[in-house]
Amino acid sequence: MSEPAIRTADLGKRYGKITALAGLALEVPRGAVFGFLGPNGAGKTTAVKLLLGLSSPTSGEAWLLGAPISDGSAHRAARARVGYLPELFRYQGWLSAREVLALHCELTGLARSSWRRESDRVLDTVSLMDRAETRVGTFSKGMQQRLGLAAALLGSPELVLLDEPTSALDPVGRHDVREIIRALRSQGMTIFLNSHLLSEVELVCDRVAIVDHGRVVAAGTFDELLSGDTVRIRATGLTDDALARFGTQQQRDGEWLVIRGLASAGIPDLVAEAVRLGGRVHAVEPAHESLEDRFLSLLGKDA
């Protein structure tokens, strides 16, 4: 159980002259909600497909729950403990929701006696219980995505890969999915969340990797990734000499003084110091570097 849920080493995928993934190195610890962030076309879906054996890498190796993707039978056995919601979610329109879930129970190798109970459980989780007997062909996109999420949760897998799981959902649906993810985390499940929605990742993930042009450009917990707190203070009557006392990590922005790398606990001392030096403090705004700021700066675009 000590090996990470997902590990990739120099994982690469080329389609002719196009490089979809360029030597991806990634490690997703067990029990984490891991956000895999990147702009469209960064290689996120390609990475997921390689991990699940839906596509073959042109270089490198990856391990899914410890099983190398190059080892057909071990990888297949590992997939019994993995749930997957594809970005392009389509299920058999001629089957009812319950029949689709029974099919997935059967393919996953769950005992027949548990199918009904499992289907009911996941249908309830995604709020589709009242449509259990409806043909999937009549479902809206949002309902199909919920069904896909339900299918991914069958048999309480150890790892769930969600590829843009809220792309077809309304704000309420998105909120529901976040709640589902949090509940899964509390059960110790590992979630790999592929998304280009920064807010979504920020709200539920413990760790993130930011990928661009098929490469991880930054990875870690939010604390590791974001440069820390910033305080904006609007004060008048401070001389340049006085300002120099606030350290080097500061810059003037009109009447505002922006001080970086200061924990929020230090704000009272900062205000007291400003007043002691003869300043008149009009406003203090603790700020946090947002994931968006960091994301854009990593991709070479200013906020």
Binding site: V82, Y91, L103
Partner: protein, 285 residues
Amino acid sequence: MAIFTIAKLAIREVVRRRLILALVALTLLSVALTTWGFSRIPTITQRGVPIPDVQVKLIASQFLILVMFMFSNVLALSSVFVASPALSGDIESGIALALLARPISRRDYVLGKWVGLAALVVAYAAAAIAIELAAVDLAVGYVPPRPLEFAAFILGEGLVLLSLAILLSTRLSGMVGGVIALVLFGMAWLGGIVGGLGAAFGNDVIENAGTVTKLVLPTDGLWRGAVYHLQPATVLAATNAAGPAATANPFFAATPPPTAYLLWSALWIAAVLALAVASFRAREV
């Protein structure tokens, strides 16, 4: 067994999409129409006298071959239509993504599709042939000499095309694969006629070309086997007396295909399926 899960799914898809319903309805309609046709044969008169029973049965036997040719074509076309999008359709729609991420091998997925669709082909062919033969028996009291062997050959032809369409479906879209399979099917039929013409005129090159087409795609060879088992002994004797010219006739076979050819056909199906599995394994989903 994942093969049977996929096979059941393939059967359920065809049934739920009402293809079976359409086929059954149209088949019953064809049986009704042809039975009416057969029932009119005894009313044929020559110089005001009804034709003798021997002649009724002779006409019925030849008419039956034409009717069965239609059924075999319906079976062949249906096999191609259901099988050519079987894999490519799932990939194009995205349905394959969630399925193939499950602990199932590509081999089981391909073979499962084949088993499910083959079961449908067998069930449809067996039922259609049985109903038609029973109706003909009822209408004119004619039963072909070896109906079971005939049915087996027709089934073999359907399975050959099914396997070919599955192979094409691993790489090509349903429409493209379907068209290719049907064109090859038509060429094989024509190849059989051309080969027969070669035999009739003693031209080895043309005859060999016909043999090659029979080996490359064994549909026409199997059809000839089916026809052979529909021919009453009297027709066989009379036509054989006419010499090799009759081999060009696509509705006639003087001899049954040799056992080696049956083995070849079975091997052909196995090899095409093995190719399909190998091709689908390397397919990006």
